[in-house]
Amino acid sequence: MEFFLVQVSLTNQPKEKQKILQALQKFARDHRLPDKVLQAADLSLEEHLTNVMNYGFEDSQVHEILVRLELVDGGFQIEVEDDGRAFNPLEYPEPDLSVPLSERPIGGLGIHLIKSFMDELGYRREGARNVFQMRKKVTSGG
């Protein structure tokens, strides 16, 4: 049976990312998503989940992170929900790519990569939860 919406529950442990990778690959196979869509989604999920797991929580408790994969209006949408501190990735400053590599700060490229590889992004704060949406158009050419 095919599902057009899949929800995966993770905890804030890096090894949990393997779970969503497997779900993403299965979803891409089931819905014949182009390779470029899968690659963009894979990269964006890795970057966002790394940020949430590494910087989102101020305690050392186990937290649940929900990831929803969905086909919506000709696009592939990923929604990530967490109960970490409020953080809107869209407000994170863009890196200055014109600065020589030798002078650039190390790090800070993850959100830039998400913005580069996905077509539409959205953020909302729902009560004590962050909800980050990433969307990629699905066309036959990827």
């Binding site: 990312k17 990269l43 890795e46 790394t50 020589p100 590599l101 190390i106 490229l109 990569l113």
Partner: protein
């Protein structure tokens, strides 16, 4: 991720296959550090078989490219796969970090 090492004198080449994700980046960093401790003068990170590259991998490449350059040594990424090349290009690293063939 799998890393194969080829050593020729003080030149090291790491053939990286698979996903350079957070965990893969840590593995790569360990190998680069071992090479630096062994007095490597040139380090090539061959990305031909890298199916995935994220910002953690970019951080490792940039950090040790910079460190080696400051010591008049060299680190370069070579032969990036299409997946790795897209990330290198989007981050502005390709021109500076990838070996020109």
């Amino acid at each position: 991720m799998n890393i194969q090492k080829i050593v020729n004198g003080t030149t090291y080449e790491f053939l990286v296959a698979g996903r350079v994700d957070g965990e893969g980046a840590n593995q790569l960093e360990e190998q680069i550090l071992l090479a630096i401790r062994a007095d490597a003068q040139i380090i090539y990170v061959n990305l031909q078989q890298a199916t995935f590259l994220c910002s953690a991998g970019l951080r490792v490449l940039m950090q040790y490219w910079r460190q080696l350059k400051a010591r008049q040594k060299l680190l370069q990424a070579t032969r990036p796969s299409p997946e790795a090349d897209a990330v290198l290009a989007a981050s502005g690293f390709r021109e500076m970090l990838v070996e020109k063939i």
